[in-house]
Amino acid sequence: MAEMKKLINDPAHVVADALRGVAAAHPELRVDHEQRVIFRADAPVRGKVGLVSGGGSGHEPLHGGFVGPGMLDAACAGEIFTSPVPDQMVAATRGVDGGAGVLHIVKNYTGDVLNFEMAAEIVAADTGTEVLSVITDDDVAVQDSLYTAGRRGVGGTVLVEKLAGAAAEEGRTLGDVAAVARKANDNGRSMGLALTSCTVPAAGRPTFELPAGEMEVGIGIHGEPGRRRVPLATAAEAAEMLVAPILADLDFTGSPVIAFVNGMGATPLLELYVLYQEVATILEKSGVRIARSLVGPYITSLDMAGASVTLLRADDEILRLWDAPVRTPGLRWGS
């Protein structure tokens, strides 16, 4: 087996070292190294709903790279692919409470859901801070939700964090911001594929075996296996495999759509644009109108090669919130 090649000092210290890098590169952020929480430097913002997310590390820029005006107020970094613990979420929640309540945005994985749930209980018992949670579950690859932990939170989470962040920045109430996040999640669907596995530094070898000439369709973002394994396909065929199940799951013809083509970590932007062009062609043929687009590695799976497609059914409110200014390391536009 090939030796692991990574730009790290010590597999055990990757998350801590990366957080030191975030702090050094982004003076507009404040990093609590002990609790492993990345804050907006000006948190808590008085009168604004605080937005907290977090999860296992290895998906960067999600979530820490989305901390800043117009998006998250704080993000908790767990070990690689492992949920953070409630202490971190409690510290984050307290640190962003500007008096208007705090929203937790949680990807639907059992560990993340249970730890955020405990954190919300601890905060409720200790302080008067009002906390609401919105769980993202946009992955159509998980079909039979009665017999699973439910659909996974994947690419749609990026869009939820942007849209809810914009709503909070407008000064809306906790209930309103949570409703925006829920609406964004309910109207978003994603599907991903992998060309290679990924290597967790501490494990030192790929999480699963994916032979040359094959790809895995319906993967999650932790190297968990997908729906099926197929021969390596062209970008046009791959786009079809990703878009078809999304369109089969939800009708996207009636409203404008935000189309998001995401890289899993090791796939170059050049290929993502090749894929985007194929996705756009399919959507046009299917009568789906793209109103906004996002292309790039925004929710990754370490060094996995592959991509995912997320479509979000928008309306005027969603488009306005999407266009609102955002200033984070990972997403930045407007003034």
Binding site: S83, G111, L114, N115, Y147, A149, V200, E224, P225
Partner: protein
């Protein structure tokens, strides 16, 4: 609390926790291997990290009551384990603490009540049902066996032994099950053929009780 059967005190319960930590350390690689087959290969490392922290915390300041011992254990697990296991084990121990109340010693009936509370905590937190291929499938039969043995007046040692055997049978039964909770559930039918890592680790908890408290 009870008066007929043998009583266990905080020191004995402390020995139970240490024995559980020892079993987790001894079987860390097996837990990780089981978890890599159907999960994300971190159960052994995560639980070992948590139980090592528990042993340190309890060594640094020995709790004076069973409730305090269980509470420290639960809080430490919640803060150090992560994943789904942290909240599940943490909630189980915190419920045990609440059930132990003011008692300074526990008899077999009290232990049955405490483990029943732990099981209820796991169910409340994880929403697991019988047959979902989770720690429930080992812990629930163990609690039932303990309650039955206590109900028929068996001594503590025999009652805990019955519970340990029931847990082991429950763990074995998870091999054939298809996971319906946690990350293993994404595998669907491919999750069958391996025992559940959580059912395996909670079996060590019950086995440790039979070893340390008998």
């Amino acid at each position: 609390m009870g008066k007929l059967s043998r009583m266990v005190d905080t020191d004995a319960l402390h020995a139970w926790i240490r024995e559980f930590a020892r079993l987790v350390e001894q079987h860390q690689d097996l837990l990780t291997e089981l978890d890599s087959a159907i999960g994300d290969a971190d159960h052994g490392a995560n639980l070992h990290r948590g139980m090592s922290a528990v042993v340190e915390v309890l060594r640094a300041e020995t709790p004076s009551t069973p409730a305090e011992l269980f509470k420290r254990t639960g809080m430490t697990l919640v803060s150090t384990v992560g994943g789904a296991s942290g909240p599940l084990y943490g909630t189980a121990f915190l419920r045990m603490s609440a059930t132990a109340g003011e008692a300074e010693t526990l008899d077999a009936g009290d232990l049955a009540k405490i483990l029943r509370a732990a099981l209820e905590g796991v169910v409340t937190r994880g929403k697991a049902q019988a047959g979902d291929k989770t720690m429930y499938d080992a812990l629930a039969p163990a609690v039932r066996a303990l309650e039955e043995a206590v109900g028929t007046g068996q001594p503590l040692a025999e009652a805990l032994d019955a519970a340990a055997r029931a847990a082991e049978r429950g763990r074995e039964a998870t091999t054939a099950m298809i996971a319906r909770k946690g990350r293993a559930s994404y595998l669907g039918e491919r999750s069958a053929g391996h025992p559940d890592p959580g059912a395996t680790s909670v079996t060590y908890l019950v086995v440790a009780a039979a070893t340390a408290l008998a």
